[in-house]
Amino acid sequence: MTFWQVTLNLLEGFKMTCSIFALTLVLALPLGLIISFGSMSRFKPLKAVVKVFVWIIRGVPLMLQLFIVFYLPGFLFGTPLFSRFVATIIAFSINYACYFSEIYRAGIEAIPRGQIEAGQVLGMTKFQIFTRITLMQVIKRIVPPMGNEIITLVKDTALARVIIVVEIIKVAEEMMAYAIIWPLFYTAVFYLVFVGALTLLFGWLEKKMSYYKV
């Protein structure tokens, strides 16, 4: 197999890697916010349920969660509920939403009480206070830890291969059947370029928000 051919094959797998990454991000970012509200709820039973949920999701390997989402419905109902790809997105979104929720929570709880009170005495609604005052400050605080988590997600997508989702590592592994090993190492270049671009993006975001201090 020529270098060019290998590159094209890996690119095909990399497309899948990017799809898992992008869809997970789009779903987990808002879902994480909802979970964080639950974990900060003043309604004790809800808070307890959410805390236990986050504990389970963060406590069980993502690989195992992939198996569970994909195989368990088939095991229980005799027929799989989701395709391999959909199962992957579900497992990844829920898993990452739980991690994100803790980052959101830390960011929201770090906002000084006085910021909210200042909004209150100026007659702002709870919604206005959240969207106009708190949110921007939370975003500034959470960009660095979020960047970390999102970069981890890029590489975690490789786990999807355990339920035979053909992402870039899976493609490289299949080539190993023909005794070609170097494409496996070559995949690192794809990850590095992707993560490099993300690093630049997060650096730019941080700089963009450096005009104010929180």
């Binding site: 006085g114 909004g119 209150q120 007659g123 005052i133 400050q137 104010y212 201090k213």
Partner: protein, 263 residues
């Protein structure tokens, strides 16, 4: 008739009685200073008046309107509480400017949101109102002497300037009563002067103010009325002369001696 009438305000945190029944009245245009040592309940009183804390008992009337009724307070809707809060303005010890907005946006944020919410105005009328708010913000900045900082961000100006911006922000909504919660306590000594000067300059015939402060000289000079609080009650109340020159209660005498101590 009294402009502000505070009646039997009582507040308990867990098992600590912080306010044990506070009564006082204020005429329109009067300046009231509240002094007393830390933990005497001054700040809690101010926070109850601003509905940041809910009083357990008592009432507050402003201009004949019952603004706070502790018994009924639990039933107030969010909307009612918002409207009630607007009778009062509050300047915080820690300024609490919004760091992501520049000075003029700090002033206009809440008033513009209020205009946008109104359903009785057409789009053109709203825009007109918003223009008015923007020019009012510049006037207010002039009042506190910070016109040239309109486009600065809070992190770019000094603590004293930040507090002056906070004062302008509180004035934007034209509260019936403007409250200050130890406005200079978080400032370096050389910056307190500029803030106190601004507060003093606000004293006009129709602006009613309540100032919780540790600045005794300032309280003496600017107030029409002084309250000394101790252990959740008004220990002594009167004109600045009465309180500072002829204190009666032992606690007040001890407090003033301590405040006048020089090193």
């Amino acid at each position: 008739m009294e402009f502000l009438k505070v009646n039997g305000i009582y507040k308990k945190f867990d098992n600590t009685e912080v306010l044990k029944g506070i009564d006082f009245t204020l005429e329109k245009g009067e300046v009231l200073s509240i002094i007393g040592s830390s933990g005497s309940g001054k700040t809690t009183l101010l926070r109850c008046l601003n509905l940041l804390e809910r009083a357990d008992k008592g009432t507050v009337e402003i201009n004949g309107n019952l603004v706070i009724d502790a018994e009924a307070e639990a039933k107030y809707t969010d909307r009612q509480i918002r409207e009630k809060r607007l009778h009062m303005g509050l300047v915080f010890q820690q300024f609490n400017l919004f760091p992501q907005y520049n000075v003029v946006d700090n002033l206009t944020l809440a008033p513009i949101l209020r205009v946008k919410e109104r359903k009785d105005l057409s789009k053109e009328q709203k825009n007109l109102e918003i223009e008015k708010i923007k020019s009012r913000a510049l006037e207010m900045l002039q009042t506190v002497g910070l016109s040239e900082k309109a486009r600065s961000y809070p992190c770019e100006i000094s603590g004293g300037q930040q507090q002056r911006v906070a004062i302008a922000r509180a004035l934007m909504l034209n509260p019936d009563i403007l409250c200050f919660d130890e406005p200079t306590s978080a400032l370096d000594p050389e910056l307190t002067g500029e803030v106190l000067k601004v507060i003093k300059s606000l004293k006009t015939s129709d602006r009613t103010m309540i100032i919780v402060t540790h600045e005794m000289e300032f309280a003496k000079n600017v107030s029409d009325k002084v309250i000394f609080m101790a252990d959740g009650v008004i220990e002594e109340m009167g004109s600045p002369e009465d309180v500072f020159e002829f204190p009666k209660s032992q606690k007040l005498i001890a407090f003033l001696n301590k405040a006048n101590e020089t090193f």
